[in-house]
């Protein structure tokens, strides 16, 4: 009887609340390793030091491929990340952001820095016009993109819409497909931050 009651309670808990101990993003086995690739980082004073895809020690790095003339996917994902970090509070200060432009012709360094600053206080913007270098990095993340000028002169950009959370060894811990939302990101970041703190304490 007690066992039955316990089972019933467990079931109720399972149904009634979301499981906050499980990652909702995609975790690949084996994990993708991206620490071996780099792209030039654009800063106010420097326009080209290589940035490697690993987080600082004790941090997590969120990586996103996008472009600033993107009205829908990019601002949705980046605003969701901003909301998730805000909800988590100061412990989310360890979450860093790397924004890579897939449209380097139109996205200048200045435009990129201004854009990224709308979504994060801690960020890196990465830009190269060397398309082989960009392709190498996209391949490492299993991502892709293209820029097409249409007959009417408008520019159509396609890109992988996922975001990636990378650890300090360059391993992709979680991949967030488009649409995971602020709630999914918050859930995963809380778990990853906890795991990181436990592993370093």
């Amino acid at each position: 009887m007690t066992a039955l009651l316990a089972l019933a309670i467990t079931s109720l808990v399972g149904c009634g609340s979301a499981d906050t101990t499980r990652i909702v993003g995609v975790q690949r086995t084996p994990a993708i390793e991206v620490g071996a690739v780099s792209l030039p980082e654009v800063t106010n004073s420097d326009t080209g030091s290589p940035f490697n895809f690993w987080a600082d020690s004790g941090s997590l790095l969120v990586v996103y491929f996008g472009f600033t003339n993107c009205p829908d996917l990019c601002p949705t994902t980046l605003a969701d990340l901003r909301t998730a970090r805000k909800r988590i509070g100061s412990t989310a200060d360890i979450v860093d952001l790397a924004l890579i432009t897939v449209d380097p012709v139109r996205d200048t360094a200045e435009v990129l820095r201004s854009y990224a600053g709308s979504f994060a206080t801690r960020f890196h913007v990465l830009r190269t016009t060397d398309l082989h270098a960009l392709a190498t990095v996209e391949t490492a993340f299993l991502a892709s993109s293209s820029v097409t000028t249409l007959a009417d002169g408008t520019v159509s950009v396609s890109h992988t819409a996922s975001a990636y959370v990378v650890d300090s060894t360059g391993r992709v811990l979680v991949e967030w497909p488009f649409g995971i939302g602020a709630k999914g990101m918050e859930n995963d970041l809380r778990i990853l931050i906890k795991q990181l703190k436990e592993s370093t304490s």
Binding site: T68, N69, C70, P71, D72, L73, P75, T76, L78, A79, T83, V102, V105, E110, V111, L112, S114, Y115, G117, S118, F119, L131, L134, A135, E138, T139, L142, A143, S144, S145, S146, V147, T148, T149, L150, A151, S156, V157, S158, H159, T160, A161, S162, P177, F178, G179, A182
Partner: protein, 170 residues
Amino acid sequence: MITRRTLFAAAVGSLLLVSCGKSSDNNNGLTVANAWARQSPSATSFGAIYFDITSKDADTLVSVSVPASVAKMAQLHEMVAVSAATDTTMAGGTTDTTIAGGMNGEMVMQHVDKIELPAGATVSLKPGGYHVMLMELAKPLAVGDTIELTLTFGSGKTLALKVPVQETAP
């Protein structure tokens, strides 16, 4: 003999009628909910408007417009997986760069001529799907602003909306 059940059914029926009649009177059988425009990030001249729309009769949403004080142009757009996208090269475009070849979750935005509105069904314009794209914004969209959006339908109906600019979806 009038039973309690009949009375109840009649009451529900009249409520439904009132609610249908009201939206019909105001909006020609069109109901729009949860309309919002995204606050502009810095350094972009593009924007998007989202809403849920229900038409009492089968119809199509064929065009959208905003005043020049908001943006130079507004169009109906849709995000689609690259494999499902209309081949833009076929439409006379030239691909400038293709990087790493379409392996994972690649999406592209495309212009759509119309959005089908089946009778009584709610169609959502939402991130990652259909949206109204604003091009060449006159100024960045700021929280607190309101955009006048006019929808035109295949039936000839039009509907004017006031869309609030927000940080996130309502």
